[in-house]
């Protein structure tokens, strides 16, 4: 039986909107349904994965910890688009350490998006 695949696209920085948090919730639910899931970080979405976030200074819950746990939920494809890292002067060592985190080119991102059955942004 073919299972439909889903690519969750994080394209916004954390905390200014609920996008990161609410997309994460979808990812975790889809994982519970055994759907193959890819988490793709593009544009300002790469900031979702930056180490050293301290949102509690604003009484905001730190959801970056949940990204670290994605592999535990069966989400092993955590892809960060290289152009975004470059554009924002970030390197991959500055991102939280997650098993399965890889950087990819924009053309790889393009084919990933082309081949996923569903793509969700918020």
């Amino acid at each position: 039986m073919m299972n439909k695949s889903i690519c969750i696209v994080f394209n916004k920085a954390p905390y200014g909107s609920q996008a990161g948090r609410e997309l994460l919730d979808i990812a975790l639910m889809a994982a519970a349904f055994d759907m193959p899931i890819t988490a793709l970080f593009v544009e300002q979405g790469v900031y979702q994965l930056l180490k050293g976030q301290e949102p509690d200074i604003l009484d905001i819950k730190n959801h970056s910890a949940t990204f670290k746990a994605l592999p535990l939920y069966g989400i092993e494809d955590i892809l960060v688009e290289e152009d975004a890292l470059q554009k924002f002067n970030l390197n991959v060592q500055e991102l939280v350490e997650i098993d399965g985190l890889k950087t990819i080119s924009s053309s790889h991102a393009q084919s990933l998006l082309a081949n996923s059955d569903f793509i969700l942004t918020l």
Binding site: K4, I6, Q18, A19, E22, D25, I26, M29, A30, A32, F33, M35, F118, L120, T121, L122
Partner: protein, 130 residues
Amino acid sequence: MATYSLLVTANPYSSQGQLSAIQFAKTLLEQGHELMRVFFYADGVLVASRLHAPPADEINLTKAWAKLAIEKDIELIACVTAANKRGIVNVAEAERNALTGNNLDPAFEISGLGQLTEAMLNSDRLITFG
């Protein structure tokens, strides 16, 4: 004939998203397709309150979705986590959270993200309006 589900995340009265969604819904139904479920998430859940009072000469989105749901037997589901956060609660959630009132419009149901995942798996197309 195809089966559609819609994911609606747009704030009902702050942007055009829900107007586009309902127009799309009406059109696909007119074309003879099926609309299995409309799942309201993020700010989209706000439309599920029965307490909206937009001006009389403007569309009442809650009533518009309700009318469509009743006429065409469509499920309107608001995500429980998103709804609770934004103050859209049915009787059960109001009690569970010790709130002094409830406001869910009867045409809508409160449920979990599993309903969205299920809609993805069982529909031919999922269209998002945000």
